[in-house]
């Protein structure tokens, strides 16, 4: 199983990195959030420094944008799976001693990895916008793992939802459907303290909120939020387990 998983994972990664356009867009998209939304909103945010806990809105926004990016990379695994179904590659893989679960794992880890390449680029961009980082190596590791868990969880969720689909359009539609409510009902763009009660309930379950808060605490120097980290780890484990079982049972071959 390890041999097959490594082979398929490397294939996912190579396929991403051999397409410069995909790499460029993956990196540029969250950057544009920072640049446009961040800069556009920064002036008003300054007046609300007490709400945001910082006078540099980019500092507040960066962890949020990174966490929503981990949500949207989930789509890539689904798209790559559907491409394999359409081009018959799924059959090529399955007519070897490779199980559907292994295919699922390679796709989930593949797209999570794709999400992680955004981190260094975003950090560099934030530095350029005047954000200063004073994180310890442990804090960096916690943040990166929290982002990895988020990406893995959502990738698995997407793969489970689209396990039976062979339509190119599905991942995009699902992504649009999921991303918007999860992003706006989280603490990614603004603090959740001002939410109406029903939204607070959603936000309290929303993994994006936890990823954003955890990152924000680290950037703003409030230390490691162990609860958030634990929540994200559990979220990832549950989603991977669901994706694993669903793929084993329902993943369509063509």
């Amino acid at each position: 199983m390890r041999s097959q998983l490594w082979g398929l994972y490397v294939r996912e990664i190579l396929r991403t990195f051999r397409n410069p356009f995909v790499v460029l867009i993956t990196v540029v998209q969250p950057f544009m959030w920072l640049a446009f939304f961040g800069s556009g909103f920064a002036q008003y945010a300054k007046d609300l420094a007490s709400v945001y806990g910082t006078s540099n809105y980019i500092e507040f926004l960066l962890p949020g944008v990174l966490s929503t990016s981990m949500l949207s990379v989930g789509m890539f695994g689904s798209m790559s799976t559907i491409q394999d179904k359409r081009f018959g590659f799924m059959k090529r893989i399955l007519i070897t001693p490779t199980s559907k679960e292994v295919i699922f794992l390679s796709k989930a880890f593949g797209s999570a990895t794709r999400g992680l390449i955004q981190i260094p680029v975003m950090i560099a961009a934030a530095l350029a916008f005047g954000v200063t980082f004073s994180l310890s190596p442990l804090e960096w590791a916690v943040w990166i793992f929290a982002l990895l868990f988020t990406a893995l969880g959502f990738s698995s969720m997407f793969l489970a939802i689209t396990a039976r689909s062979t339509d190119w359009q599905t991942p995009g539609v699902v992504s649009n459907f999921i991303t918007m409510p999860l992003m706006f009902s989280s603490a990614a763009l603004y603090p959740s303290s001002g939410f109406p009660t029903w939204m607070k309930v959603i936000s309290a379950w929303n993994p994006i909120s936890y990823t954003a808060t955890l990152g924000r605490d680290l950037v703003l120097g409030s230390g490691i939020d162990a609860t958030a980290f634990g929540y994200l780890a559990i979220f990832a484990v549950i989603m991977v387990a669901i994706g694993y079982v669903v793929s084993a049972k329902w993943l369509r071959v063509e």
Partner: protein, 333 residues
Amino acid sequence: MTEAEPPAIDVRSLSKRYGNHEHGVLALDRVTLSIPKGCVFGLLGPNGAGKTTLIKVLTGISDITSGDASVAGFDVRRESMKVRARIGWVAAEVILDDDFSAWENLWLQARLQDLTGWEERADHLLEYFSLKDRKDDKVSHFSTGMRKKLEIALALLHQPTVIFMDEPTIGLDVGTRRMLWDIVTGVRKEFGVTVLLTTHYIEEADALCDRLAIIDQGRIIAEGTPSELKARVHADLVQIETAHDLDTQRISALPGVQEVRAQGNDWMIRVASSEDFLPRLLATVPAEDVRRISVEKPSLETVFLDLTGRRIGQEEPMRDIRKFYMQMRRARS
């Protein structure tokens, strides 16, 4: 090929139904086949006959509805992973990672088959298929023939017992098709594999296969060596299209006539010898009534025609056109 050796592929009363219960399409209907080791076995039949379904079932891509099948000595259902470690697959449409080089494609295949020390064999295969000097080139820059060769190399990498080739020459030009025929024959000799290939090209089945089964509407309707099958039709087939109906009784009474079958204004007549029969036929039918006459000597085509009353290539469109006209007529009335 000794008698004691178990067959490479053993299929018993295998049925496959798509969709739910009895309303689904019966793609395979109690197929029984035994394919000896080292043989090039052909499944010949029109599109939609069930050839690809049989390959899907035997490779573990599709479930079995009922019956049993074993490949390379292992049960397809219960020992699927063992089967899959012993088979190779060549798709009708070439399926490779286009962004990868030939070598990277081989690397991935080795990973999927969990092989160690595969490099030497991969080198040997690239050499055998004259791809060695292109091994680091992206597959997307390869010609169709080269891609096909690489796909066969992938299928052979793990020294499989059986290779499945689904319509291996579909869409290829004549030159490439001939090359592929040579490859199939060569590969069997060089690597000692059993090849199960599907085709709807009569001449391909005739040229390549040691044995073949004719499959139609999910059923095996004949099996044997090409010459055995041809010998089954001890007759020439005369097809005649006429303006008016033929007098069937009179024609049946002509000497040497074995059978007369009508298909609209098309008549199919089995005769012992077309040379003797044609002058007699033309003496019976008014010349102005005859639109077309064709004569066929025994071939795999006539075997299929004889067994099903249809031709392999023309079956589908004919049916569609008839259906279309029937709908038109109904719509008008």
